[in-house]
């Protein structure tokens, strides 16, 4: 399996990459980690004339705190994200995802930006980053555009990235107090398994112990990492309990739109969503309670 003939452009700045992207238009692709893109090219699922590598733009490889928010550069690898103390301290739920993603060799190459921009329905970061109310930073020579992840995904492999825009990073706002989130996913193997179904959950508790706000998102069981508003409605204003979580799980299942494929039937995926929703909520609650102490 070989990559068809292609032109390669090594860029040193977003400005340079953006100019090339504008010039070559739909005949070009941004190359970051390459673990999805190069496979798609080899398998002839996609074709392109120009690969614009942004791998040498050092400014996109950092994780920083900006005004209380966490800003993750698009070229941060999954390994860097997984091992970041800052991430572990502030958003342990992200590590729920990075821990189970692919394998070390891929995690060392694959980037946060790529995992989001590829918009593959079974990708692991989009559900949890969406549940954390994250936004993507889209850079172009005209300036930065910030789009909430909940609005960013349009369909399988389709996003709101405009022509000549490059996904340069992710911003995760400060979660405030009494906050917890978690990511629960199911794969068929212990190692290197693609998600069959996944649910991310976040919630904030009020002083009296009721749920103030909640967000549940889906992975691998809908065309996009869908936010399940119905589940939030079930949860908000209520006291957390197994029964409540089961009700929220039912709402989550109702919102899922899974397919049948080699990894499982749609019916099985719905069953998984029910289980994973409850597990994600329980873990999120546990973290929120710990956060409150």
């Amino acid at each position: 399996m070989y990559i068809p003939s292609v032109n390669f452009h090594r860029t040193r700045s977003l400005a340079e990459a953006s100019v090339l992207l504008e010039f070559y238009g739909s005949q070009s692709r941004i190359l970051a980690g390459g673990t999805d893109l190069l496979v798609d090219l080899k398998a002839k699922r996609i074709s392109t004339d120009h690969l614009i590598s942004i791998n040498h733009i050092a400014s996109l490889k950092t994780i920083t705190e900006e005004n209380d928010a966490l800003r993750i550069g698009a070229l941060t690898t999954i390994t860097q994200l997984d091992e970041s103390q800052l991430v572990r301290d502030r958003f342990p739920s992200i590590v729920d995802a990075t821990r189970v993603m692919a394998v070390r060799q891929v995690r060392n190459l694959a980037t946060v930006g790529g995992n989001i921009a590829s918009a593959v329905p079974c990708a692991d970061l989009p559900p949890i980053l969406t549940a954390l109310n994250g936004s993507v930073v889209l850079w172009s020579n005209k300036g930065e555009r910030i789009v909430p992840l909940r609005n960013f995904f349009l369909g399988p492999r389709r996003t709101d990235i405009h022509e000549a825009e490059i996904l340069s990073g992710v911003i995760i706002p400060n979660s405030g107090r009494n906050f917890g989130a978690a990511y629960a996913r199911f794969g068929l193997r212990e190692g290197n398994a693609i998600a069959v179904a996944a649910v991310a959950a976040s919630l904030t508790l009020s002083a009296n112990g009721t749920i103030n706000s909640a967000c549940i998102t889906l992975g691998a069981v809908a065309p996009i990492p869908k936010v399940v508003e119905e589940a939030s409605n079930v949860l908000c204003g209520e006291k957390p309990s197994d029964a409540l979580f089961a009700k929220a799980a039912d709402a989550t299942v109702a919102a899922a739109d899974p397919i049948s494929d080699v990894r499982g039937s749609a019916a099985y995926r719905r069953e998984l969503v029910a289980v994973l929703a409850q597990r994600a909520l329980s873990k999120a609650l546990q973290r929120a309670e710990e956060d409150a102490q």
Partner: protein, 979 residues
């Protein structure tokens, strides 16, 4: 646009012209000739191409070379300095971390990266670091041992033990200590003779070879499951610059080939019909593989699509599409065997249970893809380098198809990266490469992609089994009736033998007084099924073990007790006239029960935890050869009637002693495919010569050098080739005896050879150096050479149709206990632990034996719960890759204890018999039983997936779950692989 880039690889600078599309793995292998970095899947699933970039492991198939100039790259060649292995490499050598070696470079590099960051990793950390490196041979046990114990590893196998992260030494402490106790070579766990080459990337596999002026070939497969080839237009392909030749069905010989002489039914390329998706239609040779890949896509084939049939029961129906004219109702092989009086047996039974079981489509998935390089000498000799388990059968089949004598074909088997039955046949790669090479006068290399491997097929037959078992009140088996439909795919392959094997080895484990087997091997429009580890037996064995456990439960008898009551005993003739010699089955049962603490656990574990038992055994080599008569071009010999004896020896060896007497060279065509045959054969030969194994070298790779051995199949090598090499050694010693007697001044009948000395029996101090005697012999006679040969005993088997299949000089036995945890909400199974005891006779190399068992446990467990080649309704494979077809990673593999019981097989060399295939057989049933024990429900359809478990718990059927066939391919996008 190409670009000149300087790479920093292993501390050396390489300046190369790189194309933008070049991946790092190709630049390393083709541009720098660093072939220790392997290619296994090209899409980041398998990890054999792992290299370190700035100390971090990455898949070099997923990195553009142009993107990594000036970064520090480390390949396997960069680890050992000045031929001194690193501690981790030594540990892999000495702890059994290496078998076929194809995963080894990547595995060692991943381990190196881990240990550089964390010198004392926990077992969990080791598993996380190595989860991206698939291994199909070792079961990961030896690898975990190696990484856990590598600190300060010494070449004598000792290490400074760390305080933590040391897994419990499984499989018996002393087994892993290399020892030269009294200079004995047999029964000792010496490291593999090829291990050091494999941990350093020096072992050369077929695809690592580049011959001068070599070109590359590629085959086009059919996109449809069944159809007539109406027209092929190759003009566009021929016009592509760099294309040298194109072959279609009209260009290839009219001679059909296959495995069973009575059912040769394959052409090299389709002449009239295609019979499965991927069936080979045309081939291209070009100056490079990239061009060849582009060219095959330019071949325009017009098909007349025919109705296809994918289900073996539907295939048998009146009016079903006929796949081959010659197989009426698509029945390829029909078995009707009946022994005793089955109906009377049922009439006398206290309890009868009847159940239906379904197997799965299992593909061997060796990590090394099939590869072949053909070239012709100027004198008309075909030289074929091929990745095969059966060099002799390849030679025989090439001679048959190409109509040239065997003597004009030289088969070279480079290092083979695993086979498991998938490389036991001549491939279209071998044949097309030979045709192209003859036409072009240049060497031609052809390699399957991972996807093409799945389409070529030859995996395990999926079997549909209806079993009926009648027993006495105490569980004694009275009668057993079985009907099996084997899904054979589109060609015969090994299928005739498979259909018979499916029934013939069941009665070697338990005593069946009455037994009937109705078998139907059906043709379907899928890739041909072939022989895979345990050939035909694992699925019926799984089904029988499940049924026996169900019956035990029905009667309230402990599952181990019911086995005790029916167990085969030594020196028995089975109901189907298989001649069982040594048999320590009962000892394996007792040992495994004690070790696993069965009585404390069975039916006493909390819900979601389960324990199960499974047993099995296999032949130690097929009693008869698959082609009849003597070795000669098959067209020239008349159809020979079957005789109950071997016409020629199945294993043949030559030992040549170097002129100074310091080394022995053992020549035998037995195929080392990762299972360790080079090592155990060296040990047995050295033992019979009376020299340490370290003074012996083995040449098994070249048919010009080594005499015929039938190859690595039917678990035959240790027993059959073992006899041949031992006899060759004895022949040398016999020639030396008169000289030794003269030097020692004694009668030659008193001379013995041991540990590099020849001495007077009973007076070991009266000795001369072995080499001194060898030199004396050479001075007088010239070359000191001994030969040895082995024929299976005459007269094996009964006098009924198919009686030869299942015959063997000896039979192995084993018992395994599996412990699992099941998530009752999702159905997910974690296989926690395996305890296995085997009767493999007296082991030649215990470490190698345990390595086979550990590998078989993981392969068997993997096929029980994970693996299945899935087809859509058009007969297309939905998961022809290693992210869709899932094999166990190191994280999935259970903890394994492998133990051996005392046993001696009089018909085996040094008392030995097989281990490689028999060790698979107990596994499937043990896993299924443990899951049933944990969940309270039986899943009788393989693989036992979480979805089926959940359905079974809910009381729903577990067959025909709606799968991708409904949605594929329109919505497949949805769930495709992510980063």
């Amino acid at each position: 646009m190409s670009e000149i880039i300087t790479f920093c690889v292993n501390g050396e600078h390489h300046t190369k012209l790189v194309e933008p599309h070049d991946t790092l793995v190709d630049v390393l292998r083709d541009g720098m000739r660093l072939t220790g970095t392997k290619k296994g899947c090209s899409v980041g699933d398998c990890g054999v191409c792992t290299v370190l970039i700035e100390g971090q492991p990455v898949n070099s198939c997923l990195v553009l070379a142009a993107d990594v100039g000036h970064q520090a790259i480390t390949t396997i060649e960069g680890l050992a300095t000045n031929s001194e292995l690193t501690p981790i490499q030594k540990a892999f050598v000495h702890e059994g971390g290496v078998q076929c070696g194809f995963c080894t470079p990547g595995m060692v590099l991943s381990a190196t990266a881990l240990l550089d960051k964390n010198a004392t990793p926990t077992t969990e950390e080791i598993k996380d670091a190595l989860a991206g490196n698939l291994c199909r041979c070792t079961g990961y046990s030896g690898i975990i041992r190696a990484v856990s114990r590598c600190e300060n590893y010494k070449s004598d196998g000792t290490c400074v033990k760390k305080n933590h992260a040391l897994p419990e030494k499984q499989s018996g402490q002393s087994d892993y200590r290399p020892s030269s106790k009294d200079g004995t070579s047999v029964g000792v766990s010496i490291p593999r003779v090829d291990a050091a080459d494999k941990v350093t990337g020096r072992a050369i596999y077929t695809d690592d070879i580049t011959l001068p002026n070599m070109v590359y070939g590629k085959i086009l497969g059919s996109p449809i499951a069944h159809g007539r080839v109406k027209r092929i237009d190759t003009s566009k392909a021929e016009a592509l610059p760099g294309v040298l030749a194109v072959l279609t069905g009209k260009d290839v010989p009219d001679t059909m080939y296959g495995v069973s002489p009575a059912r040769y039914d394959e052409y090299i390329l389709a002449k009239d019909k295609v019979r499965h998706v991927g069936d080979e239609v045309a081939a291209v040779a070009a100056i490079d593989l990239r061009t060849a890949e582009q060219a095959v896509e330019l071949i325009d084939v017009e098909y007349e699509e025919l109705p296809h049939v994918l289900d073996p029961y539907e295939a048998a129906e009146e009016g079903a599409p006929l796949i081959h004219e010659r197989y009426e109702r698509n029945i390829n092989t029909r078995v009707e065997q009946s022994f005793g009086d089955v109906e009377k047996g049922f009439a006398e039974s206290y309890h009868i249970r009847e159940e239906t079981f379904t197997g799965n489509h299992i593909y061997q998935s060796p990590l090394e893809p099939h590869a072949s390089i053909a070239s012709w000498d100027h004198n008309g000799t075909l030289v074929l380098h091929t990745s095969t388990q059966v060099p002799h059968y390849v030679q025989y089949m090439m001679a048959h198809v190409l109509h040239i004598p065997l003597g004009k074909i030289r088969v070279i088997r480079p290092t083979v990266g695993g086979g498991f039955g998938g490389k036991a046949e001549t491939t279209p790669l071998d044949l097309c490469a030979a045709l192209f090479s003859k036409q072009l006068g240049r060497p031609v290399k052809m390699v399957y992609s991972r996807e093409e491997m799945f389409h070529h097929g030859r995996g395990r037959h999926k079997q549909h089994m209806k079993f009926k078992l009648g027993v006495d009140q105490d569980g004694t088996i009275r009668s057993f009736d079985s009907e099996i439909y084997l899904d054979g795919g589109a060609y015969s392959s090994f299928g005739v033998a498979t259909a018979y094997y499916a029934g013939s080895v069941l009665p070697t484990l338990y005593r069946f007084p009455n037994y009937r087997y109705d078998g139907f091997r059906m043709m379907t429009n899928k890739p041909a099924a072939g022989a895979m580890r345990g050939h035909g037996v694992p699925q019926p064995r799984f089904a029988f073990e499940c049924l026996l456990n169900m019956v035990a439960d029905d009667l309230g008898i402990d599952p181990i007790e019911i086995r005790r009551r029916n167990a085969m005993t030594p020196n028995s003739l089975t109901v189907n006239e298989m001649d069982v010699g040594s048999c320590e089955f009962l000892s394996t049962l007792e040992a495994v029960s004690d070790k696993a603490k069965w009585d404390d656990k069975y039916n006493k574990l909390p819900k979601g935890k389960g324990i199960g038992i499974g047993c099995g055994g296999f032949v130690s080599g097929a009693g008869y050869c698959i082609y009849r008569g003597q070795v000669q071009l098959s067209h020239e010999k008349g159809r020979e009637s079957f005789q109950k004896k071997s016409i020629f020896p199945h294993a043949n060896a030559i030992v040549k002693i170097s002129e100074d007497g310091m080394a022995a060279v053992l020549m035998i065509g037995a195929a080392e495919i990762g299972q360790g045959s080079d090592t155990v054969l060296s040990q047995m030969c050295a033992e019979s010569l009376g020299i340490p194994a370290s003074r012996l070298r083995i040449r098994s790779e070249d048919s010009d050098i080594s005499p015929l051995d039938l190859g690595a199949y039917s678990s035959r090598v240790t027993l059959m080739a073992g006899h041949a090499v031992s006899r060759a050694g004895v022949a040398v010693v016999d020639k030396m005896k008169p000289y030794a007697a003269q030097l020692l001044d004694c009668d030659e009948s008193l001379i013995e050879a041991h540990d590099g000395k020849m001495f007077v029996r009973g007076e070991e101090s009266r000795s001369v150096p072995w080499e001194e005697v060898a030199r004396k012999y050479f001075n007088d006679n010239g070359p000191l050479v001994g030969t040895g040969a082995y024929k299976p005993p005459d007269g094996l088997g009964g006098n009924y149709k198919g009686s030869t299949v299942g015959t063997s000089p000896a039979y192995s036995f084993g018992s395994a206990v599996c412990e699992v945890s099941v998530d009752l909400e999702t159905g997910k199974v974690k296989i926690d632990k395996f305890t296995d005891y085997h009767d493999c006779g007296t082991p030649i190399n215990p470490m190698a034996v345990h390595g086979q068992v550990e590998g078989a446990v993981v392969m068997g467990a993997s096929e029980t719960i994970l693996e299945d080649v899935q087809f859509d309704k058009q007969g297309r494979i939905l998961n022809p890759n290693l992210h869709g077809y899932l094999t166990m990673t190191i994280k999935d593999a259970p903890e394994i204890f492998s133990g051996l019981v005392d046993s001696y097989e009089p018909r085996g060399p040094f008392g030995a018999k097989e281990i490689g295939e028999g060790s698979t057989l107990p596994v499937l049933g043990a896993v299924a039983h443990a899951i049933a024990n944990a969940t309270g429900v039986w899943v009788k359809d393989l693989p036992i997936t979480p979805e089926k478990i959940l359905r079974a718990i809910r009381g729903k059927n577990t067959q025909n779950i709606p799968s991708a066939s409904e949605d594929f391919p329109e919505k497949c996008d949805h769930a495709y692989q992510s980063e």
